[in-house]
């Protein structure tokens, strides 16, 4: 049996080129479109638990109530859906020990900013989320009080998510972790 069938040999290079380009276009389109057919992205799965510009501590993952796949039962998270369209959002959280972190995500799930807990000390994070073009001037309006102690973070999209993660050191720490997560805040500044 010949390595290449006769009819294939008779195809012109133009046909092969068209087929290759078609395959490439289909590949690219499928890669970009397939995620839209996802049953639910992570943030869509937890949407019912959230309200805008407020931090919510999600319930611990159990086999009967697991909001996200591959989310360990040791891991507790607090999530805030923010919208900076109407003004900057102030975020505060305490990261008491290693294993904790605070991450900022776009609505499509890109983790564009992450800050881990620090060694040997309780770490209090204070961030102000501002639109990308307003870092220096937009939030410093005449007659407004400016909080210079908070780090300003430029957010690429108006809507996104703050995720505070805490890791359990055992069941006896469960209440402590929950209390620490409940202290996290996500508040829009009044105009």
């Amino acid at each position: 049996m010949p390595l290449i069938p006769g009819w294939l040999k008779r195809l012109s290079w133009q046909t092969v080129a068209v087929a290759a380009v078609t395959g490439g276009i289909v590949h690219i389109m499928a890669t970009l479109v397939l995620p839209q057919f996802a049953r639910a992205t992570a943030f869509q799965r937890i949407a019912s638990k959230l309200s805008l510009n407020a931090m919510h501590v999600l319930p611990p993952a159990t086999p009967d109530a697991q909001l996200l796949p591959f989310l360990s039962a040791d891991e507790r998270i607090a999530v805030c859906k923010f919208d900076i369209e109407a003004g900057p959002v102030d975020v505060t959280a305490v990261l008491p020990e290693k294993g904790w972190s605070l991450g900022l995500y776009t609505a499509s799930g890109d983790n564009f900013y992450v800050i881990p807990a620090q060694d040997m000390r309780r770490f209090e994070v204070a961030l102000t989320l501002v639109p990308a073009q307003e870092r220096f001037f937009g939030t410093i309006g005449l007659g407004k009080q400016v909080d210079l102690s908070a780090t300003q973070v430029q957010v690429p999209t108006n809507v996104g998510y703050v995720v505070v993660r805490g890791m359990s050191r055992g069941r006896s720490y469960t209440a402590d972790i929950e209390q620490t997560l409940k202290k996290a805040r996500c508040v829009q500044r009044k105009a």
């Binding site: 009819w7 590949h27 890669t31 397939l34 086999p63 796949p69 890109d110 992450v114």
Partner: protein, 186 residues
């Protein structure tokens, strides 16, 4: 001739779809790094992630931690290449990863926690019992075992997730990862 061209284009379409599915579901050397039984998506959670990585995590409904902070590895086979099954017992053993924090958890094939009366689903560097010298072993088994034990119930295929936060040497450092050794099967 036209029929052959149509067939050829159909093959091209199928090839485009299949290759896209494969690169999103499994990944390639462009998007993943494999070390022993462990695979990690190198741009997981990053703002500059490639479309395959982005699609992979969106499709799975996961909330990845940026690889700038943590490397998240997944294993679905033992060190001999056999798929992890709840009908077998395994031990995950090695030296502790050189990192600020790490955790290991077991799930079924779809990433669901495995129900068990002991309510054990994972260990981390704060909860693990280890032997002197930093070596550790975690037994994956259906029934109780002494020491570090993670129940596998009747989950069928298993997936083990290992997350290493702030590895010494940075995100591109070669980290010593544990092996997964099969002990016995029923």
């Amino acid at each position: 001739m036209i029929a052959k061209v149509i067939i050829f284009v159909v093959i091209a379409v199928i090839g485009g779809l299949t290759s896209s599915w494969y690169m999103i579901e499994r990944g390639t050397r462009l998007t993943t790094r494999t070390q022993g039984v462990w695979t990690t998506w190198v741009a997981a959670g990053r703002a500059d992630a490639d479309p395959y990585t982005r699609a992979h995590f969106m499709r799975r409904g996961m909330l990845p931690v940026s690889t700038a902070l943590a490397q998240t590895y997944e294993a679905r086979t033992d060190s001999d290449g056999g798929a992890l099954f709840s009908s077998c017992d395994y031990v995950v053993e090695g030296t502790e990863p050189d990192a600020a924090f790490w955790s290991l958890a077991i799930f079924d094939d779809a990433g669901r926690l495995i129900p068990n009366p002991a309510e054990r689903y994972g260990y981390n560097s704060a909860t693990l019992m280890r032997s002197p010298g930093g070596r550790f072993g975690i037994t994956l088994a259906r029934s109780a075992r002494p020491g570090n034990w993670l129940p596998t119930g009747g989950a069928g295929r298993l997936a083990v997730q290992l997350r290493i936060e702030e590895p010494r040497g940075g995100e591109k450092a070669e980290i010593s990862l544990p092996v997964i050794r099969r002990l016995s099967c029923r």
